[in-house]
Structures are given as C-alpha cells and as structure tokens.
C-alpha cells in the first residue's frame, strides 16, 4: 500500500514537472497563475544556415536579442500582474509600450526561427501545394513575390519586419511591413503571419553591414516553406 502511494506520488510529480516545462513556467510563477515565457530552442545548429546567415549572427540573435525580449517581456508582465489587482491605472498604461515591444519581439522571433531551415532540411525549396498556387494567383509568380518582399524590406526605414501574411477575412495573401517589434496583427486583426523576415540591423549587420538588399537576396536560400505552408493550410480551411 505504502509502496503504491509512493509510486503514485512520484508519477504525479513527474507529470506536474513535465507540464510546467512544456508551458515554460517555473513552479513559483505557475502557482501564482502567471505564465512565464521562455526562449524557444532552434531546431538546427547556429551554423546550419551558412553561408546565407552566419553562425555568429544566429547565436547573437537567438541567445542575446531574443533572450532579452523574453526576459524583459516577463518582467513587464510581472509588473502588470502586480498592478492589475491594485487597479494602478497609470502603471498599467505605462507598461503597454514595454509589453508591445518585448512581447512583439518574442512573438516575431519565435515565428522567424521556424521560418528558417538548413538547406539539407528543405530550406530554400519553393512552396508547393496550396500555398504555391495561392502565391502564383496573388502575385503572378514566386519570383514576383520575392521581388516585392525584397523591395519592401529594403525600403523600410529604421527597424522592423517584412511579412508574407494571410488575410483571413479577405482570403488573400498580402505583403506587409511592421515597424520595430510590432507583430503583423497590428496591421489588421485578420492577418496571420506565414513568413516574417527580420530587417533590424542586428539580423544582418555583422555579415552584410549596410547592404540590406544582399541579406534579403540571400535569405531565400534558407526559408522554410514547409512551415509557412502548414500555417497557410491550417488557417485557410
């Protein structure tokens, strides 16, 4: 009897821990009802996207920039969590820009890592199936889409992102840009990001310096269209 309950307790603990890890929440915050975000792992090595994107950039981009967004997002959310029950209206409002900036950074980069894949895992292979047809329909050809994304990405002043998105309401593909870390949804609530390209200087500077157009030309060699197609298929049904 005792042995059995020992076993059950151990299993429960493992389950709880496993669930916590899956949610990315350390036990303390989890018990307070506050979800803590964590840096997602890449499914490839830092150097696996070379020569399109250097390993040095990938490591800094993931371990430092994205991690900082996650850390500061959690900090801002904790402060919000404290301010809400107190009804501290001015703090709640003051935190909005930090939440948008850091939360947006976390959201956008989480998508970005999945938008990339090493060549030997299909990176660069143009989309087939329904997304491929949709691209031909809306842009004329895959090459025209690439041209449009590159033009908008190069023309973006300052920091931001260039997106290929699905407008769920109008049921069509769009190319959009957002400033700083604004997620695509800030350009329209019905917009779903399929592919985002980071055009902040930190995304390419060490390798391409001021020549953003070269970065844009080369990144297509490691774009993971399988992921974009999956999202497209799920969201357009």
């Amino acid at each position: 009897m005792a042995a059995r309950s020992l076993l059950i307790r151990k299993t429960l603990a493992t389950v709880l821990r496993r669930d916590s890890a899956a949610l990315g929440a350390p036990a303390a915050a989890h018990s307070r009802g506050l979800h803590t975000f964590t840096l997602p792992d890449l499914s490839y090595d830092y150097g696996a996207l070379e020569p399109a994107i250097s390993g040095e950039i990938m490591e800094l981009h993931h371990k430092k920039h994205h991690q900082t967004y996650v850390t500061n997002y959690n900090k801002a959310l904790e402060q919000l969590h404290d301010a809400l029950p107190k009804g501290d209206a001015s703090t709640i409002v003051k935190l909005q820009s930090a939440i948008k900036f850091n939360g947006g950074g976390h959201i956008n980069h989480s998508i970005f890592w999945k938008n990339l894949a090493p060549v030997r895992e299909g990176g660069g292979e143009p989309p087939k199936g329904s997304l491929g047809w949709a691209i031909d329909e809306h842009f004329g050809s895959f090459e025209k889409l690439v041209q449009k994304v590159n033009a908008e990405g190069a023309a973006l002043q300052g920091s931001g992102w260039v997106w290929l998105g699905l407008d769920k309401e109008l049921k069509r593909l769009v190319v959009e840009t957002t400033a700083n870390q604004d997620p695509l949804v800030t350009k329209g609530p019905g917009l779903v990001p399929l592919l985002g390209i980071d055009v902040w200087e930190h995304a390419y500077y060490l390798q391409y310096k001021n020549v953003r157009p070269d970065y844009l030309k080369n990144i297509w060699k490691v774009i993971n269209w399988k992921y974009a197609s999956e999202v497209y298929d799920n969201e357009s049904s």
């Binding site: 800094l60 430092k64 920039h65 900082t68 820009s97 900036f101 002043q157 300052g158 920091s159 931001g160 400033a179 700083n180 870390q181 902040w200 200087e201 930190h202 500077y205 060490l206 310096k209 001021n210």
Partner: protein, 240 residues
C-alpha cells in the same frame, strides 16, 4: 569607436544618405535650400515627404560626428555656465549622465537621444509668453525615432546627440548597447563643442527675445498713438 565602425558608419551609411538626398532633391523645390531648410520643409509638420529621411539623417550624422573627439585628446567638461544649468535641471552632472544613458537605452528600435536647450516660447504663431523668465528655458534630454530630430520640433537647440541605430555600435559592441553608451559618454563626447553650441543657443534665444520685445513695443505704440484704428471699440464711449 573602432576604425571599422567609422569606415562603415561614415563611409557607407552617412555617405549613402548624402548621395541619395542629392539625387532626390535635384530639380525640386528643395534644391538650393540649406540642409536645415530641407529638413524642416520635408518634415512637413509630420506628414513626411520622401526627402525627409535622407535629409534628417545627413543632418543628424553631421551633428553626431562633430559632437565627438578622439580619445585622449584632452578631457573637456561642461563650461561653468552650462554646469550651473545642468545642476539646476538635472540635480547634478551625474544626474544628467544617468538620464541621458537611460534614455539611450530605452529608445526602442532605431533613433537618437538628444541633450538640448529648450526655449520657453509658446508654439502659437505670434503669441508671446508674457511672463518670460530664465526658469522657463531649460536643458532637457529627449529621444527621437529613426531620423526625427529636434529641428523639426522647433524651439529646441540641440547640444549633443548619440546615434542608437544598431549600425552605430553593432561591430564594436553587438547587442550591448549600454556598453556603447557608457563608452561614448566617458570617452568620446567633445564638451568644447557642446559648450560652444550652448553659447550659440543662449545668444540665439536672447536675440529672439529682443526681437519679441521690439515687436511688442511697436504694437503698444501703435495703439497709444492719436490715430485709433477705424474698427476700434471703446466700451466706455457714450454711443447711445
């Protein structure tokens, strides 16, 4: 700030802004204007014209390079007058440095942070502040995104700036913007230039105040002269 950074920042980024601006304004209304005029005109009260980004970035980078001096070429610190005002408006020199650093660290995305002398003029056409005092004119630290700069806001006299676009520090510091800012404040700021800008700003403000005085006196004289304007209303007159 490494040579490599300067070669790219000055030699590529800044140069490209200059070349593109020249291409953009040739044959347009903006051609032939001074750089400051191009910046203010293309800002167009917030409805940016295409030339604004290049023009403002050219101006910003000119101002940035002039704000610095090579390491080891003498210390330099704020003049007595400037220091007095810094103490008044920031509590202490350290207070100013901390506020400047904090602003530079929290400018989300690309942009600039400015240390400026702000005039107290009301931004309402011909309105004149009737209770002008030296207290109203103050030193401030302000941030601006992308290419925007205080020229476009009016009544600001920039004294010092730091570029916090990532290209300004990425080669030397990668993501460590705070380290770049500290290095800039400790080793690169040319206080001689800042001091001289401050003197010019004070002189410009004084000149404008004298102009205001002169205009105000002119208006007064007009109304106290024997010839009253035809549409003048005299509430105490016996018209009925």
């Amino acid at each position: 700030m490494s040579q490599e950074t300067l070669e790219y920042h000055w030699g590529k980024h800044h140069r490209t802004y200059v070349e593109n601006l020249n291409k953009q304004i040739v044959g347009t209304d903006l051609d032939g204007l001074s750089l400051e005029e191009v910046v203010v005109n293309s800002y167009n009260k917030g409805d940016l014209l295409p030339a604004f980004n290049n023009a403002a970035q050219v101006w910003n980078h000119d101002f940035f390079w002039e704000s610095m001096k090579p390491r080891g070429s003498g210390g330099g610190k704020p003049s007595e007058d400037l220091l007095k005002l810094i103490d008044r408006d920031f509590g202490s020199f350290e207070g100013f440095v901390n506020e400047f650093k904090a602003a530079a660290q929290t400018q989300f995305g690309s942009g600039w942070v400015w240390f400026a002398y702000k005039d107290s003029r009301l931004d309402v056409g011909n309105a004149v502040n009737p209770l002008r005092s030296d207290e109203d004119k103050k030193l401030v630290v302000v941030k601006s995104p992308n290419a925007v700069n205080p020229l476009t806001w009016g009544y600001y006299y920039p004294l010092l700036t730091i570029d916090v676009w990532e290209h300004a520090y990425y080669i030397d510091f990668q993501n460590r913007r705070p380290d770049y800012i500290s290095m800039f404040m400790d080793k690169l700021v040319s206080w001689e230039v800042v001091n001289s800008r401050f003197e010019k700003a004070k002189a410009a403000v004084e000149q404008m105040e004298q102009e205001d005085e002169r205009k105000r006196r002119q208006e007064e004289e007009r109304f106290t002269s024997d010839e009253a304007p035809a549409n003048a209303v005299f509430p105490d007159s016996d018209t009925d």
